[in-house]
């Protein structure tokens, strides 16, 4: 059986991109994966009111959660809030590659959930997005 632990995943795990904190982030969110203890925090600094000027993640946990968070930050950086909002589950999974079981899916999607929680909170529509977030 071929492993989902590709060279790429391991590279992102060992050499995370955009890891750290931002001093002037307008968007901040944090969550944990209660089933396995992964922690992800995401901070975003906006350009005006619509564009992600900078993004950082912080956290600890498995290679899947940390690598996918790192990959997500690269994807989001420079995008408009509207574009960031449209990033889907499938986008993240195709970046990771390989098959994930239901439990590990939670690891892979934690950062997306955190990013979207922060984003919806910022634009004031967190309540309406509950269903989307709970599907992550």
């Amino acid at each position: 059986m071929s492993s989902i632990y590709s060279e790429i995943i391991l590279d992102y795990y060992r050499n995370p991109r955009n890891k750290g904190k931002l001093d002037r982030a307008q968007i901040r969110a944090k969550d944990t994966n209660p089933l396995c203890g992964d922690v992800i925090e995401i901070q975003m600094e906006l350009d005006g009111d619509s564009k992600v000027k900078d993004i950082r993640f912080n956290g600890m946990g498995c290679a899947i959660s940390q690598a996918s968070a790192s990959m997500l930050t690269e994807l989001v950086k420079g995008k408009s809030l509207d574009e960031a909002r449209k990033i889907s589950k499938e986008d993240i999974l195709s970046l990771i590659g390989g098959q994930l079981s239901a439990v590990r899916l939670k690891c892979a999607l934690l950062s997306l959930k955190v990013m979207k929680t922060g984003l919806y909170n910022y634009i004031g529509s967190l309540e309406n997005a509950k269903e989307e977030l709970s599907s992550l």
């Binding site: 209660p34 089933l35 396995c36 079981s101 239901a102 439990v103 590990r104």
Partner: protein, 413 residues
């Protein structure tokens, strides 16, 4: 009486291996369904498959077998939610049975919401499991119990209900269907009236969910409790439903593994419901078996089951009432009752009755059926109870009636 054409009781019977038993030389007739139901092949095989193919602890296991068990367990929760039309599987907590469900509410909701001088309203027809937890809570908190009386036919005294409501009650805990009288209480209307005064309502659905369609959104109950073993599932598994975010506001019941978010030496935090109320390793195959039972009942259709039971109950009441010296309890209208027929015959003590019927291979229950206050109200020490389910036949009722004649002979009635 006209038969329901689509209901093939002989086909249903073939699903239940135990019905092939011979007791004391006679075919086994099981009429103790209000105590527990028999299990169809489909449920037995589901449990067998679990043990042989994917037995594992759930939730935290990162390997295939555990993921299969977890998925099956959570699918069972979703099946329960759909079965009673809950809004979300998060409104479903797995417990041991109705009794634990009610204790959970008494502890986790009651200790927070019921205080000195508050009233808890019950009815005279409640099962001990819907009395004792409230006695314990009332004693601890200095609250009072108020009982809604019943008529001699076993119908709730609506005027008393309204009076108690007006004096103020925090909670109304009521059986959907009585396990002795068969009475089906009009819980939908009672809930509507209770809610107008801000009174919370718990429905003990142990005798309704197995036998008829129950829709928690239609009823609008706050809590609903039932047991898997009375609906063709295993023992050791049952359900507590709580509406919307009621679970969020409740304190933990049992503490331990799996119900926690974080544990530090001197303080901990909890997972969101339903997990907050499922401490430790739960009855995993029990939940999966209950899911299989729900599939089984749903495939036949709860409406059809209810219709079949109503017919057989009407037939039984008609037939048994021709036995000289018999007294049958509960409402006379079969529309207003479930498949439970409690009776007494002359001076035959119900325990002697049960032994005599057992000699003929017929299983009934005798005694007070965990409803001592009800028997005190009726002024009788005990009753014999025949209770029906989807696999019982009119032929079995006939044999019960014949046995009663035999008992009359022995007792020279």
């Amino acid at each position: 009486m006209q038969k329901t054409v689509q209901y093939n009781v002989e086909k249903v019977r073939q699903d239940f291996p135990i019905l092939q038993r011979i007791i004391n030389g006679k075919p086994f007739i099981y009429l103790d369904n209000a105590a527990t139901a028999q299990k169809p092949r489909q449920v037995i095989e589901t449990l067998d498959r679990f043990y042989k193919e994917y037995n594992a602890n759930i939730h935290r296991g990162i390997y295939k077998v555990s993921e299969e068990a977890t998925a099956a367990h959570e699918e069972a929760r979703a099946k329960v939610a759909r079965f009673i039309n809950a809004r979300s599987p998060n409104e479903i907590v797995f417990v041991r049975g109705t009794t634990e469900a009610i204790n959970l509410v008494a502890h986790a909701w009651g200790r927070k919401n019921v205080g000195l001088g508050d009233n808890i309203m019950l009815t005279e027809m409640e099962h001990h499991s819907n009395i004792v937890p409230w006695q314990l809570l009332a004693k601890e908190k200095g609250a009072s119990l108020k009982y809604v009386g019943i008529t001699d036919q076993g119908i709730l005294e609506r005027y008393e209900f309204q009076q108690h409501l007006q004096s103020g009650a925090k909670l109304f805990a009521v059986a959907h269907s009585s396990n002795v009288l068969g009475t089906i209480n009009p819980v939908r209307e009672l809930i509507r009236e209770a809610h107008k005064t801000g009174c919370c309502v718990l429905v003990d659905a142990a005798q309704s969910v197995p036998h008829m369609p129950v829709d928690v959104q239609d009823l609008d109950c706050d809590f609903l409790a039932f047991s898997g073993h009375k609906m063709c599932g295993p023992t050791g598994i049952g359900v507590l439903y709580a509406k919307g975010n009621l679970f969020d506001e409740m304190v933990p019941f049992h503490g331990g593994g799996e119900m926690i978010s974080e544990v530090h030496p001197y303080e901990s935090s909890w997972k969101p419901p339903p997990y907050k109320f499922e401490a430790g390793t739960t009855n995993i195959e029990g939940a999966i078996g209950l899911g299989a039972a729900i599939d089984y009942l749903s495939n036949i259709g709860l409406r059809k089951i209810r219709l079949h039971e109503r017919e057989i109950t009407a037939y039984a009441i008609d037939k048994l009432s021709r036995t000289k010296g018999i007294t049958i309890y509960g409402p006379s209208d079969p529309q207003a009752r479930g498949g439970v027929v409690s009776f007494n015959l002359g001076d035959v003590h119900p325990h002697d009755m049960a032994t005599l019927l057992d000699e003929d291979g017929i299983a009934v229950r005798s005694g007070q059926h965990c409803a001592q206050p009800l028997h005190e109200r009726l002024g009788i020490p005990a009753t014999t109870r025949a209770s029906f389910y989807l696999y019982n036949t009119e032929d079995e009722v006939d044999r019960l009636a014949n046995s009663l004649e035999r008992v009359r002979g022995i007792f020279k009635l």
